[in-house]
Symmetry: C2
Subunit: 304 residues, 2 copies
């Protein structure tokens, strides 16, 4: 099983990224028609946050995981839209003044800056509900067992035992000093749980029995950590014009990140090792896993 | 079909309210065990918001709607817990300084007062996810079609086309002047959609075909409006020691409420008429709808 890594493959990966991004924009555009009533500001804020911008890494992961099982691409994209809705809600809320207090996101003013704080809270809440509305819709999958499993796993991944719990730990990390196992646990909840769901969603849609999901879970765990280490490195070495958000925030807050705990060189080595390990989990798959292999490399090589 | 209204019936209604409240407390207690990690503050905040206090009107409505179709009471209570989780999340977020800026709720400090704003945002978000996790769990209903329909309808009722959209309109009501149809629409979204879901949930669990749901939807619409008119009256005439929250807020903000638009006497008449109309929708049911009839009266006669 060779990972295609020549120029053609790099171009085809960029094309795929672009296609997924365009499809997600299209879905949000269709879902969020501007109403002619006092809710207009809310929907405008949601459009501001969700349309145009963002790597769309999570939807891409869903598409790649669904590729393994020949899932209908339109269904895969609807699940990708649901996960992106959860991701966007979390960005809106995390950017609030009482949380990370960020002014820029994806190269645009954050929602509470472009609109106001109340609208930002409600826009986040509305995306949260929208995600589950999409997953539970018959358009996403005709089998109600699949829909119900998708909802259950996404809810678990995003609540107090997942993403929201991780964000709570992240806030504590500005006050307390965490060791490496605690930072790892924090990131597994804060970003890892949702990335894990992207792969799980492919397995659910592909009706893969639980006992067959171990390789995909291993892959998700490894690229989730690699992604976060790369994020920590970008926070130090990145270009704000590319990332579209403020950098050096963790450094300035004195937060224990992977880089702070391991040093830049060891962090870089660790990220590369995790990418190889992630790809190793895919050994049982053929060319249908090539997109997942490309994503593993992209996760640490990206500049935004 | 006579509505029992003697003293025995009033006592039995209070007993039922108490039983539902105790069961909801019990469910939240079991769902929200305090972890021994940095998420502890988040779970503590969730327990503060969800356990002890509140009328538990929405779970009671689910139980009453499920009574019509002899649904297993434990299943009904799980759905009631999910709706209460959505209700609690909305209270936590609505109380935030950037929203209604309230210090007291259910006789206790609001979450952002007892903890902090960031924890309040995350506690609300976590309840939001928890609601869907409960609904999609096999423990709630063995039929995945039922689970999926519950999720779809609750998501629709709570997002930008429902509760969150209504809260957005409510914020606009402090600036713009709304007429009676607009205030009615606002309340139908803000509180009506979730109350509507409580009845719909009974129909879904009872596998009542869509075309048979019209009476329940009529009942929900009427008691939803009656509930809100009663709330507006309580805001003017209520006792803060009983309501457990600050009153005279709408009046002081110059907000267009039902009472502001109709006057106290007409508002009271309207609420009573809606209760009778709501009960009228239940004409096709026998004694199994008595709890719904009692709730219709309670909605306008309550002092908190």
């Amino acid at each position: 099983m060779r990972v295609a890594d020549d120029e053609t493959s790099a171009r085809s990966f960029q094309t795929k990224l672009g296609q997924v991004a365009a499809a997600i924009d299209h879905h949000f555009d269709a879902l969020l028609a501007l109403p002619d009533d006092p809710r207009r500001g809310l929907i405008a804020a949601m459009r501001h946050a969700a349309i145009g911008g963002g790597k769309r890494l999570r939807p891409l992961l869903v598409v790649a995981a669904c590729d393994l099982f020949h899932v209908d691409p339109e269904r895969a994209m609807r699940v990708g839209t649901a996960i992106e809705a959860i991701h966007v809600y979390s960005l809106i809320h995390d950017d609030l003044p009482c949380m990370d207090d960020d002014d820029m996101r994806r190269g645009k003013p954050t929602v509470h800056k472009a609109f106001d704080e109340a609208t930002a809270v409600l826009a986040g809440d509305s995306f949260h509900a929208l995600a589950f509305e999409i997953l539970a819709s018959e358009k996403t999958h005709p089998d109600p067992y699949v829909r119900s499993e998708l909802v259950f796993e996404l809810a678990r991944a995003s609540g107090h035992g997942g993403m929201a719990g991780g964000q709570m730990m992240d806030l504590a990390a500005e006050i307390e000093t965490f060791d490496l196992p605690t930072v790892t646990r924090l990131q597994q909840l804060k970003t890892g749980a949702l990335i894990g769901f992207c792969l799980e969603a492919g397995a659910i849609m592909g009706k893969l029995p639980i006992e067959g999901r171990t390789p995909l879970r291993g892959y998700a765990r490894d690229i989730g950590l690699a992604f976060q280490i790369a994020d920590d490195i970008l926070d130090i070495e990145g270009d704000e014009a590319l990332t579209g958000k403020a950098l050096h925030k963790d450094e300035n807050a004195g937060k224990q990140t992977f880089v702070a705990l391991m040093g830049l060189d060891r962090a870089r080595e660790q990220a590369s090792a995790l990418v190889e390990q992630a790809i190793g989990h895919l050994g049982g798959f053929g060319v249908e896993a090539d997109l997942l292999r490309q994503i593993a490399h992209y996760v640490v090589e990206r500049d935004r």
